[in-house]
Amino acid sequence: MTTVATDSSMDTMQGRPRPLRLPQWLRFDGWGALVLPLLLFLILIFVAPLVVMLSRSLTDPSLGLQNYRDLFANSVYLRVLGNTFLIATIVTAVTLALAYPYAYLMTLVGPTWRMIMLGLVLVPFWTSILVRSFALVLFLRDTGAFNATLQSLGVIDEPIPLIRTLPGVVFGMVQVALPFAVLPIFATMQNIDRRLLLAAESLGARPSGAFWRIFVPLSAPGVAAGLLLTFIQALGYYITPALLGGPKNMMIGELIVQQVSSVLRFGFAAALATLLLVTTLLLLLVASRFVDLQKHLMRQT
C-alpha cells in the first residue's frame, strides 16, 4: 500500500497523533494543541467573568446605560476619574525623572556596581505591595521616621502632614512603579553603542551635546515602553493610594472597592471597572503601535 503524505506544513518531530480535523486555518498540530488547557482555563476563569462584569454594568440595577450616565453626570465621580488621570500622570513623570538617570548610571558603572544597582531594583519585586505600602505609612505619618528625623535635626518644629495628601500618594506609587520603569529603559540603553557618542565627540560635539542629540533619542523606545507601562499600571493602583491618600485623592480603584463593599452597587462598580478596562486596553493598543510589547514582556534574548 503506497501512502501519500499530503501534509505540506513545515513539520518536524513526527510521532504525534494526527492533528484535529478542523479547517486548515484553524488547525493546531499535536504540539500546538497543548496550549488548549491553559487557553480554555483562562477563557473560563478570566475572560468569562470579565464579560459577566460587563453585562452586569448594563443590567444592574436596570437594563441599559444607566450606570454610565450616573457616572458621567455626577461631579463627584468625575473628580475621581480626573484625579486618577492626574495622579497617574504625575507618578509617571516623577518615575521617569528618577528612572532615567538611575538606568543611565547603571550603564556607566562596572559590573559589580551594576549588579548591586540591579539587585536594588529587583528587591521591590520580592516585597509584597502591602508590606511596602504599610512601611511607607509608618515612614510618612506624623509620628513616623521621616518627620521624627527632621524634627530631631531641628529642620522643622511641627510634623509635615504627608499621609492623606497628594505628595504622600505620589511618594508611595513612585516607589512601586520605579522598578517597572528602570528595567526597560536600562535594557534599551544597554544596546546603545557607546562608540556613537565617541564618534560625535571626535566630530566636534560637546559631551553634553552628544548625550542629548544622540544618546537620548536612541534611548527613546525603552523610555516609551517604561512610560506606557507605568502610566497604564498607575491607573489601576488600589492598595497604595488607599493607604496613603485621603478622600480628596481617591482613585478609581478605591472607588470601585467602596461601591462594592460599602454601598453594594455592583452594577455601578462594574461600570467603573469596565471603563478602566477599556481605557487600559485602548492605551495598550496605542502603545503596541510604537513599542514591541511582546518583546519587552517575554525578553527572549
Binding site: V4, D7, Q14, G15
Partner: protein, 366 residues
C-alpha cells in the same frame, strides 16, 4: 591503534536495504527534493554528497522520519515506513554537533537506547562497555559530555548510535565541526566501524574528498535531484555531466560544440579528437588534471594526442605531487597534476609549453 574485537565483538547484524521512491518535499514555493529515487543496498556505505541547499540533509531526515515527504515512499527491506514515527524506526543517528545529553554521563548517554528497549541492567552495563571499547573510550564512562573534546564527544555519539545494534546508521555531516587532523582520524575509524559491523551506513557530507574516501557508492545531489549515483571510481573517472565533473575532483573543461570530425573549442576554434560514442549534443570536453601532460617541445608530443599551446602561470609543489597552472592564448585556464619528479625541465612560470592528452582520457559532457 585499532582495538581487538575478538572478545568484545558484538554479533554482526546485517544491514537493511532502503528504497526511496519518488520522494518530494516542498516548503511553500521552495522545492527541496524533487521525485528522488534511490535504492540503498543492504550493508553498503552510501554517501549523500552535495552543496548546501542540495537537499541531502532533508533526504536523510526523511529517511530518519523527522520530516514527512509531500509524496513518495520510503521502504526498508520492502516494508513501507513513510508514516512510521522516528522513534519506531530503529535507525541509529549521529549529528554534526554530537547531540549528547548534557545532563547525563557518557555511560548513561550510551545506555539510553538500551533502557528504551528494556534491556536488563547487567546486560546494559556490558553492552555499554563494549560500545565504548569499540570507539576506544572505555575509560571515560563517568565523565560528562561537556568535559570531553569534540572528537571524543563524536565517538560517544557513535557508540550511542550503534549500541542497540541498529540495521542502519544515519550520519548528518558528523565530522563538520572537527579540525582537519581529527576529521581524517575519524574518517578512518568510521570506515573501520562499517567494515566490522556490516550494517548500512548513510552518510551526508559536502566534502567530496571525504565522500571519495569513505563510500561504497556516492549519490551526488543538486537542487533536490540526484545528478549521479555510482562508486567513487565511477564518479571520478566517468562523471555523467559537467556538474559532477566539477564537484568531484578538479577538472579541465573546454566549452564548445561537436561537429563532424570532433570537438570545436568556442574560444579559439581549435579542434580536438573525441572518444568514439561520445554524445553528439555535448557542449564541454573534460580532462582530469592528472591526465593532462606537459611537453616543452612539440617534438615530444605523440602524434595521436590532442594538444594545445599554453603559457605556464604557476607551479605549486604539494609534497607528493606538483600542480601546474597553465593558460592558453584563448584565455582558458588549465590544471596539470603530476607526481614528482616527472615534470620536465623548462616548466617554469612564463615558459611556453604544450599541454597534451590522450583522446580516451577525455570525456564529452553537457
Amino acid at each position: 591503534m585499532t582495538a581487538t574485537l575478538q572478545t568484545a565483538s558484538p554479533r554482526k547484524s546485517t544491514g537493511a536495504s532502503i528504497s526511496i521512491d519518488a520522494v518530494s518535499k516542498k516548503y511553500g514555493d521552495n522545492t527541496v527534493l524533487e521525485a528522488v529515487d534511490l535504492d540503498i543496498r543492504a550493508g553498503e556505505f552510501l554517501t549523500l554528497l552535495g552543496a548546501s541547499g542540495s537537499g541531502k540533509s532533508t533526504l536523510l531526515n526523511i529517511i530518519a522520519g523527522f520530516i514527512r515527504p509531500n509524496s513518495g515512499t520510503v521502504k526498508v527491506d520492502g516494508r513501507d515506513i513513510t508514516s512510521l514515527p522516528p522513534h519506531k524506526r530503529g535507525f541509529g543517528m549521529v549529528f554534526q554537533h554530537y547531540a549528547l545529553f548534557p545532563h547525563m554521563s557518557v555511560a548513561d548517554n550510551v545506555a539510553f537506547p538500551l533502557k528504551r528497549q528494556k534491556v536488563a541492567k547487567n546486560e546494559i552495563r556490558t553492552r555499554v562497555a563494549e560500545a565504548l571499547e569499540m570507539v576506544e573510550l572505555g575509560h571515560l564512562g563517568n565523565r560528562r559530555p561537556a568535559e570531553l573534546s569534540g572528537g571524543q564527544q563524536q565517538r560517544v555519539a557513535l557508540a550511542r548510535a550503534i549500541v542497540f545494534r541498529p540495521r542502519v546508521l544515519l550520519m548528518d555531516e558528523p565530522l563538520g565541526a572537527l579540525d582537519k587532523l581529527l576529521r581524517e582520524q575519524l574518517q578512518l575509524e568510521i570506515r573501520r566501524l562499517h567494515q566490522e559491523m556490516g550494517i548500512t551506513f548513510v552518510f551526508v557530507t559536502h566534502d567530496q574528498d571525504e565522500a571519495l574516501m569513505m563510500s561504497d557508492r556516492i549519490a551526488l545531489l543538486r537542487n533536490g535531484r540526484i545528478v549521479q549515483l555510482g562508486t567513487p571510481e565511477q564518479l571520478y573517472a566517468e562523471p555523467n555531466c559537467r556538474y559532477s565533473a566539477e564537484f568531484v575532483g578538479a577538472s579541465n573543461i573546454f566549452t564548445g560544440t561537436i561537429q563532424a570530425n570532433g570537438f570545436i573549442d568556442d574560444a579559439d576554434g581549435q579542434h580536438y579528437r573525441i572518444p568514439e560514442g561520445a554524445d553528439r549534443d555535448g557542449r564541454s570536453l573534460m580532462i582530469r588534471p592528472e591526465r593532462l601532460h606537459i611537453a616543452t617541445e612539440t617534438a615530444f608530443v605523440p602524434e595521436s594526442m590532442n594538444r594545445v599551446e599554453a603559457i605556464v602561470e604557476d607551479c605549486i609543489y604539494l609534497g607528493s605531487s606538483r600542480t601546474v597552472q597553465l593558460r592558453t592564448p584563448a584565455g582558458r585556464r588549465l590544471l596539470a597534476r603530476t607526481d614528482v619528479p616527472r615534470v620536465p625541465d623548462g616548466v617554469v612560470p612564463g615558459a611556453r609549453v604544450h599541454a597534451y592528452w590522450d583522446v580516451h582520457d577525455s570525456r564529452v559532457l553537457d
